[in-house]
């Protein structure tokens, strides 16, 4: 039984390394070949884990081989558009100014119901609202709405606003995230002094974020969160 435990740990870490090296794509963002690879990897990993008579190398070698093959395909795809198109396919315009391109839809082996469903998923319930719709290689639909159906933005209203800034987590669950200090343009000492002046102990802070516009989100443990406009601007 202990052999099973050791084998499981080895395979777990190996799979972890392989997936880390493969990249951070989520299931919905995967190219078809990546999805197939993930399924194969999962299957390969379980065999040496449970089959004690199979040498663990019979699991490790295919895992590593697939990693190398995947990396090679990714590398080649980066250098050659033709190769990339061959492996992942090309984005296809399924709706254009003339309406649904039925030829393209049939070529993709899709039905009009599938197109309608994808449009609804993108937030458009009528074909009228759409100027262009593109079926991406990962199976998701990108939609360019007609001008009258485009969402209103500040620029349309000639409203000037300050550029957004990414809130950086400084304290999380009572722990200071030191590695995040270099992402804000305010010195560490200044931030720590500000927190001290608030009269809150670090260990009582659930979340403390700061952006370069000086906007703070602070929530103490078991208390309500609040937004503070501070002078900690970058």
């Amino acid at each position: 039984m202990s052999t099973l435990i050791i084998r499981s740990i080895i395979i777990y870490f190996l799979v972890l390394v392989v997936f880390r090296l493969m990249g951070k794509r989520q299931l919905g963002q995967m190219q078809p070949f990546e999805l197939v690879l993930t399924l194969i990897l999962a299957d390969i990993a379980t065999i040496p884990m449970t089959e004690i008579s199979t040498p663990i190398l019979h699991g490790i070698v295919p895992l590593l081989t697939l990693l190398v093959v995947h990396y090679t395909i990714t590398l080649l795809s980066r250098f050659s558009t033709k190769f990339s198109d061959m492996i992942s396919g090309k984005p296809v315009i399924v709706i254009n100014q003339d309406g649904v391109d039925y030829k393209a839809v049939k070529k993709l082996n899709l039905s009009i119901d599938d197109i309608t469903e994808s449009l609804r998923g993108a937030g458009y319930f009528s074909f009228d609202e759409v100027l262009f719709a593109i079926m991406e290689t990962n199976g998701k639909m990108s939609v360019l709405p007609r001008a009258q159906n485009s969402p209103l933005v500040k620029e349309d209203m000639k409203i000037k606003s300050e550029e957004n800034s990414l809130p950086v987590t400084i304290v999380s669950e009572g722990k200071i995230l030191k590695e995040n200090f270099n992402q804000v343009k305010v010195s560490k000492e200044k931030i720590m002094k500000y927190i001290k002046n608030l009269g809150i102990s670090i260990k009582n802070i659930l979340i403390f974020t700061l952006d370069n516009n000086g906007l703070i989100y602070l929530q103490e443990k078991y208390k309500k969160g609040k937004t503070i406009n501070s002078n900690l601007k970058g």
């Binding site: 008579s53 199979t54 040498p55 019979h58 081989t65 190398v68």
Partner: protein, 129 residues
């Protein structure tokens, strides 16, 4: 770049493992196969297997097996290796009770089990497909 170096390392590791398997493991199994083949030749036509030469050769086969068993288990299916081990261990018992038929049958099994490994794991077109 770090990823690229890791992949290169993995490629070398795989090539190394394959080379080690194809050369060393094949040598070990060939050694066992040759010894069993020699024993088959020696025992052909004789009924008394309780001779010093056969005993010595069986001992040699056993020690060769014991020397390489652990390494072989890294690459070959443990069940197959166990079968091979049992057959090798049986030879000694067959000599003690002078069981000629069982002895030669055991040698044939050893010969074919080692040959099986080449059939299954050896680098050949048939094995790939």
């Amino acid at each position: 770049m770090k990823k690229f170096i890791t992949i290169i390392f993995v490629v070398f590791l795989l090539v190394g493992l394959c080379t080690w398997e194809q050369i060393t493991i094949n040598d070990y199994l060939d050694d066992i196969q040759n010894q069993s083949k020699e024993l088959i030749e020696i025992t052909k036509g004789i009924k008394n297997i309780q001779t010093e030469e056969i005993s010595n050769r069986v001992e040699k086969l056993k020690s060769t097996w014991e020397q390489h068993e652990e390494v072989l288990c890294f690459f070959a299916n443990h069940k197959d290796m166990r079968d091979l081990c049992i057959e090798i261990q049986r030879l000694r018992g067959n000599i003690i009770v002078n069981q000629y038929e069982d002895f030669t049958a055991g040698l044939q099994v050893i010969y074919h089990l080692t040959q099986d490994y080449h059939f299954i794991m050896g680098l050949s077109l048939q094995n790939v497909f």
